[in-house]
Subunit: 143 residues, 2 copies
């Protein structure tokens, strides 16, 4: 039951919430022992804050929940490959697993040769089409 | 009067506040038209949050002050070269100028071949010795 798709679907629900707020639709959840301990979506426009990416909020929120700053035994599910900023934050968090929906060839961390923490497992391509589709729809609606 | 050293001294005062709280002593200020519009220091331990670097707080705070997310015509003065996360945030902010005290060869963004926004001027080596000294003193006190 608790597959990567199961949790990515929840991240996608978050992305849909962002879409409804006219935000670039990216969402994520943080999972610990098959329990969602943080969920968030991009709020850069609403908060007027370039740092308000889904992942940044989720990292802070998960750490608050855990009462410690390291996200050991946690997995983050995010609909779009993290940017440089978010990959840096994930790296500091020492999170155990990062699961990515759609790739971001231009702004994502992978093509910039950045690494996460050595202990972090990276999984890509989970619900890639759905995660990519919502972003394309968003930008299509903007044209 | 409003030299780079003038504002870096203020960033160094912030670093000293961090030191007093037993935080890795890094501080910064954001300046717009020779006026300090945000000041902050590292609070990762106090807030239990890996994202609570001085620069991240200052970017959010400056954007709040300005009422917009882009830090155009702003300069950030920081005592230590920004990490990957903070360089990513600075890049999104399109800040006009970043002034760096001490270099961070290991964790700083420069040696990772990361760029800030094309419009961002980067100045290094302002009060380098003082900015480096306080960090060395901190880690010496930890041994």
């Amino acid at each position: 039951m608790f597959t990567d798709e199961y949790f990515m679907k929840m991240a996608l629900n978050e992305a849909e919430s962002a879409f409804e707020k006219d935000e670039v639709p990216i969402g994520c959840v943080v999972v610990s022992n098959n329990r969602v301990i943080a969920r968030s979506h991009n709020l850069t426009e609403t908060l007027n804050d370039v740092t308000a990416h889904a992942e940044m909020q989720a990292i802070t929120s998960a750490a608050n929940f855990l009462g410690g700053k390291y996200l050991i035994n946690c997995a983050l599910y995010v609909t779009l490959e993290p940017c440089v900023m978010c990959s840096g934050a994930l790296s500091w968090s020492q999170i155990s697993k990062v699961v990515i929906g759609a790739r971001d060839e231009q702004r994502g961390f992978i093509n910039k040769n950045l690494k996460l923490h050595p202990k972090t497992e990276i999984v890509t391509g989970i619900m890639e089409n759905e995660c990519s589709f919502i972003i394309k729809e968003f930008f299509k609606s903007k044209r």
